[in-house]
Symmetry: C2
Amino acid sequence: MVNNKRIVLIGAGNVATHMGLGLQKAGWEITQVYSRTVESASELAARLEVPFVTSLEEVCTDADVYLVMVKDAALQELIPTVVKGREQALFVHTAGSMSMDVWKGMAQRYGVLYPMQTFSKQRTVDFASVSFFVEANGAEELDVLQTMASSLSPKVYEATSAQRTYLHMAAVFACNFANHMYTLSAYLLEKQGLPFDAMLPLIDETARKVHTLCPAEAQTGPAVRKDANVMNKHLEMLAEEPELKEIYKIISKSICHSGQNEV
Amino acid sequence: MVNNKRIVLIGAGNVATHMGLGLQKAGWEITQVYSRTVESASELAARLEVPFVTSLEEVCTDADVYLVMVKDAALQELIPTVVKGREQALFVHTAGSMSMDVWKGMAQRYGVLYPMQTFSKQRTVDFASVSFFVEANGAEELDVLQTMASSLSPKVYEATSAQRTYLHMAAVFACNFANHMYTLSAYLLEKQGLPFDAMLPLIDETARKVHTLCPAEAQTGPAVRKDANVMNKHLEMLAEEPELKEIYKIISKSICHSGQNEV
């Protein structure tokens, strides 16, 4: 199979930007970009050197694949309009937490292409290290999605909608919530005029460790040592930060519980 | 100055193990290991090929530096016995959250040598990328600690006890709590028979991102997008995990608030 499908990007956010650039680089023909706002539609269209539209009715009707990459809340709303008049095409979304069945009864050929990665516009993505999870409503459709994903990364897996939902929730913990711990750390340091950069070796080693140890084994710090002195001192230091104090308490408690489970 | 001090290690946990091995490799003479339990004392002593004792009274009295690396809760208790009969030596602890003043009125020459890193016995530590924070009660003492730290890493900084306490608390968030997010992620995946390995590229990229973006800018996921659909779905999936559900809620709320602060 060759990368001979004509693809329209519906959406121009972080995921659409990186997927669009990646697919184009891999030889796929991106024919058009749609976004609600001129600003983001034109920005991505310029980077890809393709036309853009800001109304779904203007989206071309002759593409092979409509790759929908919008906020989950917008996806369901948008589906009937996207599919209408384009019934022969393959419809694909990239949302970790949305079932493939959002297409059911709407489109005839459909699927999901979920790149499990954190995309920021300012960062180049190394697609080769991104895991892709694909699902489709037919063998031919699955084949197209596998070809698309394989053109970006060697790590392509089939996953059902139920499995993907759990993968996505697990990613929220391992990525989004871990990053927020960095944010809180940076906030606490900044208040004292201390540089966040000092944390980077620690952050790197924390990430590296779980390549060889399971995360529960890799756990260090006052909570896993049940060092009440230190934890109480930290809670006192957070006296004027009720939200951070609550987060400190509940995560420390959860670390203690995880420790107990292992024994 | 040369690495000509004779050092006794008080403690044989993760920090003592890595510091002992690192200092010995850097040319310092480790003369003895103390730990309460024969098991851990003998294990570290064997790795260093030095004698060990399990009673503080038996610790030799003629070393230059007593490097105390025990649980914070044990430190204060242990100080009078360690110092007694060894008043001319330099006394040092490695605890991020303990003030240098724990030595005050006990020892005459003292300080703190805080390696900001997560130490697991099973992992080799790359000391060159560890930040060390030093503090001492005199210029000569500070000089010894700076020489010791510099023999392990180029990243040696002076920090007051107050600053170090904040550095340590910030490290609890950026390292210990981030790692617990990995643990919860692994737990959720395991329950579904899904491999934690799939998360590693995501964990790596999340850590890499904050080298070039500040963590708040790097934030992605449903909470920062204020995607209530996804968050509610995840909370439903966590219905039988009250602790995880609570953690999910409070961190998502905190991410939303951080977003608001930036606007």
